[in-house]
């Protein structure tokens, strides 16, 4: 029998004969690997997942031309920087007079569907059959659910509402009509674009500075309360997840080391028998280390798989979007577990080496 074969046989037999001991060792390594994999996988994807939750806040950047209208070229530039994920809604504003009450109303011209998509938080009642969106205060004060007669100086029109909305902002005092109608009635082209940039806080910041640099004569203003809240919430949540998972991983690791060390110390008789039969310290060390490494490898592989499943499931359950496994974590998890197991099993061996085999065998 070759040396390698013998080693393999000793290792497998050791695990097989003491199945329960091998099993507890594998479980304790697997638990560490699982929790480490799950926490790191979630952490690596957290910024993106959490940032997505800020889409509902509406526009996070407002682009305004200082004088005149936004040129198609400028809008194309905005689109290029914002990317296909973001939303861009060009808006023009004018003041109209309601003909019966003589009240002044701010009228906005925009693509109504896109405007609603951008402001998902508005509560809109789709009660009308027209094309305009009427703010709640306008409806309350003037229209009461009916059409609106507006005069824009030279032109005038009957505005038929498609719905009425509550926003809690100045928009409640406004009426939004389709952009082409707005341009036809007022002759004004949009000078403002409401922009929602998607991404992590840093990506948004980068896009804002790119927009500022690419568009001279255009004011680019981030809606600071939104970007600031996003940065704070995303950053602090990441820190909490990192800190608590680090604590958990370290503590469970200690727990595992304690279990492992204990199980090696329990084998002092095996150790003594081997030495009594003529094994050198090196051979015994090697045997114990390979056994530990083998068990740790099995535990870590199982733990990695389970950790990926847990991260995937947490993503699905909490963010409605899966958190995908990170293959690059596999190697560190495997190596880390093996290294830990080696440390945990060799430290007690040192202790045992100082004792005479005969003493151990006698039960001292």
């Amino acid at each position: 029998m070759k040396r390698g074969q013998l080693l393999l046989r000793v290792l497998l037999k050791a695990a097989w004969v003491r199945k329960d001991r091998a099993f507890t060792a594998v479980v304790s390594v697997a638990v560490v690997a699982t929790i480490a994999t799950a926490a790191l996988t979630i952490y690596s994807d957290l910024e993106g997942k959490l940032s997505r939750e800020f889409r509902g806040f509406g526009a996070n950047v407002v682009v305004t031309k200082n004088s005149g209208a936004l040129a198609p070229g400028e809008l194309a530039e905005v689109r290029k920087i914002v990317g296909s994920n973001g939303e861009i809604v060009p808006v023009g504003y004018a003041i109209a007079t309601e003909t019966t009450s003589q009240a002044r109303i701010v009228v906005g011209g925009a693509d109504i569907d896109k405007l609603r998509e951008l402001n998902v938080s508005w509560s809109v009642s789709n009660t009308g059959h027209g094309s305009a969106l009427v703010g709640a205060r306008v409806d309350e004060a003037i229209t009461h659910g009916s059409d609106l007669q507006l005069s824009f100086g030279k032109t005038s029109a009957t505005i038929k509402p498609a719905g009425f909305f509550h926003s809690g902002s100045d928009d409640d005092s406004r009426v939004y009509i389709p952009l082409e109608d707005f341009v036809r009635l007022t002759g004004i082209q949009p000078n403002t674009a409401l922009v929602r940039i998607e991404g992590k806080p840093r990506q948004i910041q980068d896009a804002v500075s790119q927009l500022g640099a690419a568009l001279p004569g255009v004011e680019v203003k981030p809606v600071r309360q939104i970007t600031q809240a996003q940065t704070a919430v995303v950053g602090k949540t990441r820190s909490v997840v990192l800190a608590s998972s680090a604590a958990v991983v370290v503590l469970i690791m200690l727990c595992m080391v304690a279990t492992f060390t204990g199980s090696v110390l329990e084998r002092r008789k095996d150790f003594a028998v081997m030495k009594a039969l003529g094994a050198s310290n090196r051979t015994v060390n090697f045997l114990f280390a390979s056994e530990a490494a083998l068990l740790a490898l099995a535990g870590a592989a199982a733990g990695y798989l389970l950790g990926c499943v847990i991260a995937f499931w947490i993503g699905k359950a909490n963010f409605d979007a899966a958190i995908l496994p990170q293959p690059m974590l596999l190697l560190p998890v495997l190596l880390g577990s093996v290294a830990l197991a080696l440390i945990a099993s060799t430290a007690p061996l040192r202790l045992l080496q100082q004792i005479q085999p005969a003493g151990i065998l006698r039960g001292e």
Partner: protein, 428 residues
Amino acid sequence: MFLRLLFESFRRQKRRKSVALLAIALGMSIATAMIAVGNDIGDKINQELRSLGANLVITPIEDTLDVNIGGVNLKPASEGAAIPEQDLIKMKGIFWGHNIKGYAPFLSDERKIQTRSGEVNAELIGTYFAQPLHHGTEEFSTGVRSVNPWWKVEGEWPQDYGDWPAQLVPDVLAGSTLARQAGLNIGDQIQVSGRKLRISGILDTGSAEDQAIVAPLHIVQAILGQPNAVQRVSVSALTKPEDAFARKDPDKLSPSVRERWYCSPYANSIAYQLRQALPNVRVEQVRPVEQNQGKVLSRVTGLMLLLSLAALLAAALAVSAAMAATILERRQEVGLMKSLGAGNSAVASLFLTEAAFLAIAGGLIGFLAGAVLAHRIGQSIFGSAIVVHPVVLAVVLFGAVLVTFLGSAGAVRKAMQFDPAVVLRGDA
């Protein structure tokens, strides 16, 4: 006899017992820390979400429409209705008054501003910065500094004074855009409607206020000749995320259900209570803020909950494995006891009592360590402590006993299945 066995077992197997104790203590400190952090994260993130600003806005019901384009207000202050400033304190008296974290009233109008170099038109906005107020015995201060935390001031924030002595020049803030265009600097004096004002700081908000002069409310009321008047109030309230129940019309609910609705801190029920407290006002949710902060909050708390669950499970497994390992190693002891005539129940009760002692001691140590850990996490990330509720101690102790029993029970049963003779010979 039993007690002596127990005592000797602890005395003679110090190393083995301390390993088990360490494992339990570590597992339970994880449990304590994760429960504490998971439990408190909602409040902490809610505090962070305060930087989104007010989530309710109050306007007079008789008010005319706002005429506001590009941050420029085109509606004169004399037009439209006002809310009496002295009524605002009633907000603190509603059922959910403690959830009103702050409010800031606003009164504004366009005025000619005389600077050293000439005259510009700009909006004059009056508000509270950090106005000291009291409701009953409660002393607090409120204003834009807490309600709009994204307002940045270079220089000094002005003071809010109830009655400004006419001979003193009040401090105000100049918006950053206005300051740049009109060449205003910190320390400059300006004049509005014959009243001298001193610029104590430059305000940067990223929105309409950058083009305005922002002054203490009472100064603006005096300049505009509208004492006690407020056009709009931004309210920052701690609310519960909206659900289907929150959207119900309270006037159509049965009295008991209505009571439950009224006593839930939904934005809708707080708005309802504000409308009852203040006559003739409209209270509207700032929908982007109110509708989304609950969602963000539930995502973060949900994540922490799931992570805590995973960590608790891992801790339980680790502790069980450690317990199982320590007992499996003692099968010779089991064999010896059985060969001397001990019944299975006697052996099991000895082992489980040992486990219970270990669990309670480990649970206590773990609880203390976990509390310290949670405290540290809270301090370093949020700058405020995470306090561990005493109830957690009971939960942790119970969990520790449960987990050690589960870990021990299987191993004890396994150890008892062997024939004592075989075990003692060392063949099993």
